[in-house]
């Protein structure tokens, strides 16, 4: 029976070539726009580290004075931490792992003969960074807590930097010149660029795009006067030479808390720490916050609002296209009332007529899906040429590819519901009399 309906459907579609083309085009445009924006939205708001994101948390403290609050509405807690607080929290060891970090634009001078100096994105951090974020190593490893305390001048570099400077060879043990000092390479990372760069929110640098090039111990880097990209002061003046003791926030702190009991315990610890600092006279506020990774991404609006708006608009456009297709399908069905009357008189049930027209709609859907994919690829090509951070990442992956077909079929079946129903309630008698 299915083969028969298929045959009927194809024949009727071929007979009304213009209408068919219009329907396929309309659906394909709507699907193309929707898939393009959805692919970008999914890319940008995806979980950057799915195997661990439930265990990673971002604590916040408020060292700001009462008469000069961080946010005038009083509702936001500062999104960075001062050096003293970060080190206090780390040394208290209340979480399984913890790492403080800052970003810095650093000047790298290649070993002689390999090229001119260039700027690269650097991360100043502590020893737990690599195990906590599951950064994959190609050669070597990260540094130890002793290296942190001892202000070691060591560095972990990204695979892309290794390729650029050392041709991809095992460069562990070689020196790299960062700003004015030589650092010894102790590890090379495989390609690692979590999208979005969740650990760099508010620290400077881009949320999307290439990974960071070089990672150095915080204390070792500060001993060489490397400056963080972002710092905010809450005192009268900040002595940038002595950032560690200045009234300024410039570090982000991430902690790993394996289960809910740990989270609750850490929250309590944070609250107690803030109260302690108020008692000591360092703080004037006891506000604290502890956000999970995905929650932090959401509350800091890492995904540009534009992207959500575009997805919403594209969906509205798809709705228009579906309604359009409903109208066109309806026109096509009602034109064939006589044929339907004949079929019903010959014994076809209402369900059979309904199935026949649903299959027609499904065929339009499949054809529209193929064309829609072409439009989606075109749309993503256009996005790749936009001057946006995430531009180079806009691609259709396999699941979006399959999703396109699913959405397209659904859209065309929904579009076909009304015309099919209208066709199957056609009374055969008046149609036959007209013949």
């Amino acid at each position: 029976m299915f083969g028969y309906y298929l045959d009927l459907a194809l024949r009727s579609l071929k007979r009304n070539k213009v209408l068919t083309t219009l329907m396929v085009l309309a659906l394909a445009l709507g699907i193309g726009a929707t898939i393009t924006t959805l692919a970008v939205l999914r890319l940008l708001s995806g979980d950057p580290i799915p195997q661990k994101s439930a265990q990673l948390f971002y604590p916040q403290l408020d060292p700001y004075p009462a008469n000069q609050p961080f946010s005038r509405s009083g509702k936001r807690v500062p999104y960075l931490m001062s050096y003293i607080d970060a080190m206090n929290l780390i040394h208290a060891r209340k979480a399984e792992r913890q790492a403080a970090m800052a970003m810095s634009q650093v000047k790298l001078t290649p070993p002689s003969g390999v090229g001119k100096p260039f700027y690269a994105q650097g991360v100043l951090t502590t020893t737990d960074f690599f195990p906590m974020f599951d950064a994959p190593f190609q050669y070597g490893s990260g540094w130890t807590a002793a290296d942190d305390e001892g202000r070691a001048q060591v560095a972990v570099i990204a695979g892309s930097l290794n390729d650029k400077l050392f041709g991809g060879a095992n460069s562990v043990g070689r020196m790299i010149r960062i700003e004015d000092h030589d650092f010894r390479i102790i590890g090379v990372l495989r390609t690692w660029a979590p999208q979005p760069r969740f650990y760099a929110v508010h620290l400077g640098g881009h949320s999307y795009g290439e990974g960071d090039a070089v990672f150095v111990p915080l204390q070792g880097a500060r001993a060489d006067d490397l400056m963080p990209s972002t710092m905010m002061g809450y005192g009268k003046s900040i002595d940038v030479e002595h950032l560690e003791t200045a009234p300024a926030i410039w570090l982000g702190l991430w902690v790993q808390l394996p289960n809910a009991a740990d989270v609750a315990a850490y929250k309590m610890f944070l609250g107690n720490y803030a109260k302690e600092q108020v008692a000591l006279g360092r703080y004037q506020r006891t506000d604290t916050a502890l956000s999970g990774l995905m929650e932090w991404m959401r509350s800091e609006h890492v995904v540009p609002d534009d992207v959500r708006l575009q997805a919403g608009l594209a969906f509205g456009f798809l709705l228009i296209c579906v309604v359009n297709t409903v109208g066109l399908l309806l026109a096509k069905c009602l034109r064939r009332s006589r044929e339907i009357g004949v079929r019903r008189a010959l014994g076809a049930s209402r369900g059979a007529i309904f199935t026949q027209f649903m299959i027609e709609a499904a065929i339009v859907g499949v054809a529209g899906g193929v064309l829609g994919l072409v439009f989606a690829e075109l749309g993503l090509w256009g996005i790749r040429h936009q001057p946006a951070q995430y531009a180079s990442l806009a691609h259709l992956d396999l699941s979006m590819f399959l999703f396109t077909f699913v959405v397209e079929l659904l859209a065309s079946l929904v579009a076909g519901l009304l015309p099919a129903w209208r066709a199957c309630v056609v009374a055969p008698a008046p149609q036959l009399k007209a013949v």
Partner: protein, 150 residues
Amino acid sequence: MEIRPILASLRRHRIPAALIVLEIALACAVLCNAVFMIGQRMADIHWPNAIDEQGISVITVNGTDPALAASDIPRNLAALRGIAGVTAAAAATSMPLDQNPALTGFTTTPDGKTTVNTSVYFLGSGGEQALGLHLLQGRFSTPTNTRTAA
């Protein structure tokens, strides 16, 4: 014009008429939203920022040796001024509405409470002409106010 036959015929074909109305409504909604968003973006792009944007080119120099900066900067500025068509050249720390502002609170007394966020720009001599700034009150700094690096 006889509207009643038109309405009567529409009433007979209710479903197609409803579909067309729905489609026009949706299309209007999407179009209005899109036009509004574009209008907002255009307004954002045309924010006035007190400088003569049309007439300015910004050249960013990174990574020079700090020890040579005191001699490099005047030499670079002299070279820029020598280019035909350049009416003024000056050094500045950043441009208005740039991505990395230097923000600071602003009070009228040393211990006052901050109510205004301001961004601070440090300009070399000739900065006012190069940026095309318009003075509302007071005066620009004179050469006697400025100190040069030793």
